[in-house]
Amino acid sequence: MKSNITLIILGMSVVTYIPRHLPFIISERVSFPPILKSFLSYVPIAALGALIFPDAFLALEGYPLASAMGVAAAGILSYTQKNIFITVAGSITITYLALNFLAR
């Protein structure tokens, strides 16, 4: 049973690493056509949109209001100033306060 888990870890690391590494091998050998480059240039914002919605609002199970407040705080802070540390620290603080002092 124990060796089984090691085997699972090995298998998982292989199937996780292949999608991570394969594109780098391909792009080293061939240069991508402009339309593909254009497509890939939109992947970051498309990914960020999908990483935030809906998961950010579901981050705290049972406390949707607190996560919504943390998200809103991050939105306001990053809109008004540029320092990521302030945005992250502010959002954590608001979420913490909401969790501790607000009813659900």
């Binding site: 394969l22 780098f24 970051p44 914002i45 959002s91």
Partner: protein, 236 residues
């Protein structure tokens, strides 16, 4: 000098993620112990697989008695989104030494990818490796700490720190949305499509985000093409 600057920047930008990973990795360590996984195996999970959601999924599947093949296929699907991220990053990163590539690609997580590809300046391999290693070590160390000491952080603080990771994503996005109407539209569209797919369980886990990213990026290309065509017409 320039090299050192990129390393410093990478570390600096990795710190919010490193902090956000701590409570998650601690929970992973605690869960591993509860599932009778040894500390060595928990360490290998975090250092070799290095993909949070799939590690949690694997522990749950092991507890449920799922077979090897089932776990591997589920992991593959859940982590398939990195393929798109690596492809995108491969066009952006300036790799000075191709021997570094295997290590750079290993560091492609949602967070490292988002930070690197949204960076204003050059994404050098020094920057990316510094960013990656800052995040990576935090993930591994906190996994081991969680296994050894248990939940050390108060629950409401660790939950808030997880929200902090999303705050970081938002902090990366807002400046881009402010400066481009198209970016604004695409982000909201992406959120709408992903939320629709997820809440209605339209696609299996993993395919949801891959499909969303593909559709939205394609729409980005189409919009760009239309704008270019209109500009060409104006010039004539």
């Amino acid at each position: 000098m320039n090299h050192n600057y990129h390393i410093r920047e990478g570390i600096k930008q990795g710190i919010p993620v490193a902090l956000g990973y701590i409570p998650i990795a601690i929970t992973f360590g605690v869960l591993s112990k509860a599932a009778n996984v040894t500390i060595g195996e928990a360490f290998l999970f975090s250092s070799m697989v290095y993909a949070g959601a799939s590690q949690f999924m694997a522990i749950n599947m092991i507890l449920l008695g799922s077979g090897f093949t089932q776990i591997i296929i589920a992991t593959f699907l859940l982590n398939l989104r990195h393929f798109l991220m690596s492809a995108s990053l491969s066009q952006r990163i300036e790799v000075s030494n191709s021997r570094l590539l295997p290590f750079i690609s290993f560091g492609v997580t949602d967070e490292a990818f988002s930070i690197a590809s949204s960076r204003d300046g050059a994404v050098t391999s020094a920057f990316f490796m510094a960013l990656h290693l800052t995040i990576y070590f935090s993930w591994i160390i906190a996994t081991v700490l969680g296994y050894l000491i248990g939940e050390i952080l108060p629950p409401s603080l660790s939950s808030s720190m997880v929200v902090g990771l999303y705050a970081m994503f938002i902090a990366i996005l807002i400046p881009q949305m402010k400066s481009s109407g198209r970016a604004c539209f695409l982000v909201l569209l992406s959120g709408l499509i992903n939320t629709t797919i997820k809440t209605n369980n339209l696609l299996p886990k993993g395919w949801d985000i891959v499909t969303t990213i593909s559709i939205v990026s394609l729409i980005g290309v189409i919009l760009e093409g239309q704008v270019n065509r209109r500009e060409e017409k104006d010039e004539i």
